[in-house]
Symmetry: C2
Subunit: 147 residues, 2 copies
């Protein structure tokens, strides 16, 4: 069934994160400001973004392991071993992050955002508008209730 090779795709960075998170993400990252420098060649893709109070930021976590398939969520050994696809852990086969941030300011190709859980110099690979999902009574595993 899997004799064929899995397909691969080429991502290109569209910007870079600039912040004070040099070694690790601070616990209070939700209150922290980051700058996203969108590369000039992609500035046209920002037209009108300032009309949104929130945006979804996708990064490529280039310092994350790609060959770990199971973790104790939230780096807490008392949480049950869980597949990374059932978590939002940074380790995963394709280390893509997805975080909704407040869009505080835009100046030309620079976005100022609040609440980004990424290290300084992390490549940014996509930005999307924020989408609300009205989901009644979603079910989560016990460990995720406080996430």
């Amino acid at each position: 069934m899997e004799s064929r090779a899995l397909e691969k795709f080429e991502l290109i960075e569209i910007g870079r994160v600039k912040n004070d998170h040099l070694e690790q993400i601070p616990d209070d990252y939700k209150e922290k400001i980051s700058k996203i420098e969108i590369h000039k060649r992609y500035e046209d893709a920002l037209l009108g973004i300032e009309k949104n109070s929130h945006i979804s930021v996708m990064c490529w976590f280039d310092r994350s392991e790609r060959d770990i398939q199971r973790v104790h969520p939230m780096a807490d050994d008392s949480n049950p071993l869980t597949g990374v696809f059932a978590t939002r852990a940074p380790v995963r086969p394709n280390p893509i992050s997805y975080t909704v941030c407040e869009l505080v300011d835009r100046e030309e190709n620079n976005l100022c955002v609040k609440g980004l859980d990424a290290l300084n110099e992390t490549p940014v690979i996509d930005i999307k508008s924020y989408k609300r999902y009205d989901i009644n009574d979603p079910k989560f595993p016990d460990w995720a209730r406080e996430e």
Copy 2:
């Protein structure tokens, strides 16, 4: 400033979408069932996923244009020209989708989901748990109110 080449990264498909959306996404896709076949080598990463009622599915839209930076959102010419980073249009430099779906069933490496806006045979590149954001009074452009 941008004399250096932008960095590139290699994505690998972790699964495939199987559904009846052969040519286009149906208007009522939110009610439609899709199967996601996770490749066997990534099955370990699914441990415990069935404890979630909803999951976030990320696909690589391999049939989407990558060199379009501005669109009329929702393919409606009466909506103002908008940068793709201010939308969720499938066309974008890195054609990654992000959709929260109901997880209807899991059997081994196969997930049955409801509400996936992807065509048959689209590569899947990541799955994450669903995360709620409690955002008070988010601001959107006028065209996005009904999205």
